[in-house]
């Protein structure tokens, strides 16, 4: 079978079914990413504030927020008044 370069994903898509949990994981990440970026649209926030606003555990917020920093969507700002938690701001 001739497969066009740059379109080879179509070849595998015909042979391989994407597991439901992979689709769910993508849906969940996309939702959380949007929620965090929306929360940071107008002002900087700490992890505790994001956690409270989105009803996500602080541990989950750390994981997703640090991923968004890695991908260049968010940046760490200054420490809060108690020198305990960083403020985070949206970049993109």
């Amino acid at each position: 079978m001739e497969v066009e370069k740059g379109q080879t994903y179509k070849y595998l898509r015909e042979k391989y079914e994407i597991p439901v949990e992979v689709k769910e994981q993508l849906k969940n990440y996309t939702k959380i990413k949007k929620a965090i970026l929306d929360a940071l649209r107008d002002h900087e926030m700490t992890i505790a504030q994001i956690s409270e606003l989105l009803s996500l555990s602080r541990h989950e917020v750390v994981y997703y927020l640090m991923s968004l920093i890695k991908y260049g969507f968010v940046q760490a700002g200054e420490l809060d008044e108690m020198d305990e938690y960083y403020m985070y701001k949206r970049l993109k």
Binding site: K5, L12, I18, Q25, R58, M66, S67, Y86
Partner: protein
């Protein structure tokens, strides 16, 4: 999926691309012999390439490892198979081994990938990054880590949604979902096993709360926190992103402990914990660092001076065995321990706990040999029948062992061991 079959001949097969395997392969290749280096991971360099700094010199781990791995990658006598597994080795006459090697598809044409990371940027998926020990995400189209060798993208097919975003942005059109598994029948004259070690999984000690208490992490996770390519922008508690200021180390987690089936000393956990404590004092100048230990075994060259340097910097050392860790509502942790100096049970509060995990054997090499038995020692590391005079020899003639596959050891000892194994292997090739 189908498996394509290929054949190849080399002088030596080196199983494992950690620092010992790399050193052994390089020595053999520099003497004019051809080597196939097989690594199951997507990059060579093993655990060492992921370290922040090394003890007792505090040299940058990446700066030491990178020149060596790139020398190997460029060497004309060395072929590297990453993402590959040795399935079987059989003796095919004297000085002749036949190995079956499974090369898993990377779904990227390695020669064409420039490492531009545009595929990574385009990929919509986010899954835990195994090279950051799950503390941050990575994409399904990804370069394993910044200094990976080869620095080539890979597709995590198990988490890929086959959306095609990576292929659409790839400037060299190197992503190739038509790749399939390849089985290589490899003929060699000698074999070096450099299969390394596993770190103890602290989930096996529920009383320390790892997995449940998010501010209990492993020493390898702390290693990543301290590396320049760290998962977070600085050292933070994974539980809530707070800057930690009272950090505890629990030495001998899963080593010197018969109750978890590992009675031997890891040989490295004292020194890497002391190293990390010193680095933490630099990264977090206001933090208190306490090391709970059974004994401090600072046996190598410069180790005791390194230990004394840590004391001088203000690291607290408490001789005490941790019985249990419990979590407070604010994520802080209460360590209950026996203080050996007073003989009393004590409790102390910390806001981040690092479990200095021990070293376990990697028993994968036991399954390689179909017609010979590769003997193990009492702790399931590869047995050295003549450990005093020929430490690289195994129970199979022509098969040598390098590095931590024989037992726990630090980096310089692993390199020395690899030197011995490669010298023995070269001698064996010459005899053929």
């Amino acid at each position: 999926m189908q498996e394509a079959k290929r054949e190849a001949t080399f002088d030596a097969l080196v199983v494992g691309g950690g620092i010992a395997g790399c050193e052994a392969a390089l020595n053999i290749a520099n003497n004019g012999y051809t080597v196939l280096l097989v690594e199951k991971d997507l990059s060579i360099g093993g655990k060492m390439i992921l370290l922040s700094k090394v003890f007792p010199t505090l040299d940058c781990g990446a700066c030491i490892t990178t020149p060596k791995v790139s020398e190997i990658a460029r060497h004309t006598n060395i072929n590297i198979f990453t993402g590959s597994e040795v399935k079987n080795i059989s003796l095919n006459g004297k000085h002749k081994f036949k190995a079956s090697v499974l090369k898993n598809p990377r779904y990227v044409i390695e020669e064409d990938c420039t490492g531009c990371q545009l595929c990574e940027e385009a990929c919509p998926v986010n899954v835990p990054d195994q090279y950051q020990y799950g503390m941050v995400g990575r994409k399904a189209a990804y370069i394993p880590f910044t200094i990976a060798s080869p620095r080539v993208a890979a597709i995590d097919i198990e988490n890929c949604t086959l959306c095609g975003a990576c292929e659409r942005v790839c400037p060299t059109k190197c992503i190739d979902f038509t790749q399939e598994k390849e089985v290589w029948a490899v003929s060699v004259k000698t074999v070096i096993l450099a299969t390394g070690f596993h770190l103890f999984d602290p989930l096996r000690m529920p009383r320390y709360g790892f997995g449940s208490y998010k501010n209990v992490i492993t020493s390898m996770q702390m290693e990543r926190h301290l590396a320049p390519t760290r998962p977070f922008h600085t050292v933070l508690r994974p539980g809530d992103g707070k800057l930690p200021d009272r950090i505890a180390y629990v030495l001998c987690t899963g080593s010197r402990d018969a109750s978890v089936g590992n009675p031997i000393c890891s040989q490295i956990c004292c020194m890497y914990s002391i190293k990390q404590a010193q680095l933490l004092m630099g990264a977090l100048p206001m933090a208190d660092v306490t090391i709970y230990y059974i004994d401090i075994r600072a046996f190598g060259k410069g180790f005791n001076e390194f230990y004394e340097q840590a004391i001088g910097m203000g690291v607290n050392f408490i001789k005490g065995k941790i019985g249990k860790i419990t979590e407070k509502e604010n994520g802080n942790l209460i360590l209950r321990y026996e203080d050996v100096s007073s003989g009393k049970l004590q409790e102390a509060e910390h806001d981040l706990v690092v479990l200095s995990v021990g070293v376990l054997p990697n028993q994968d090499s036991q399954i390689f040999f179909s017609d010979r038995s590769l003997q193990e020692d009492a702790h399931h590391f590869i047995r050295q029948p003549d450990s005093l005079l020929n430490p690289a020899k195994t129970s199979i003639e022509g098969v040598f062992v390098a590095g931590t596959a024989t037992g726990p050891m630090d980096i310089p000892d692993s390199i020395l061991s690899a030197g011995a194994a490669s010298a023995e292997a070269i001698s064996y090739i010459i005899q053929s």
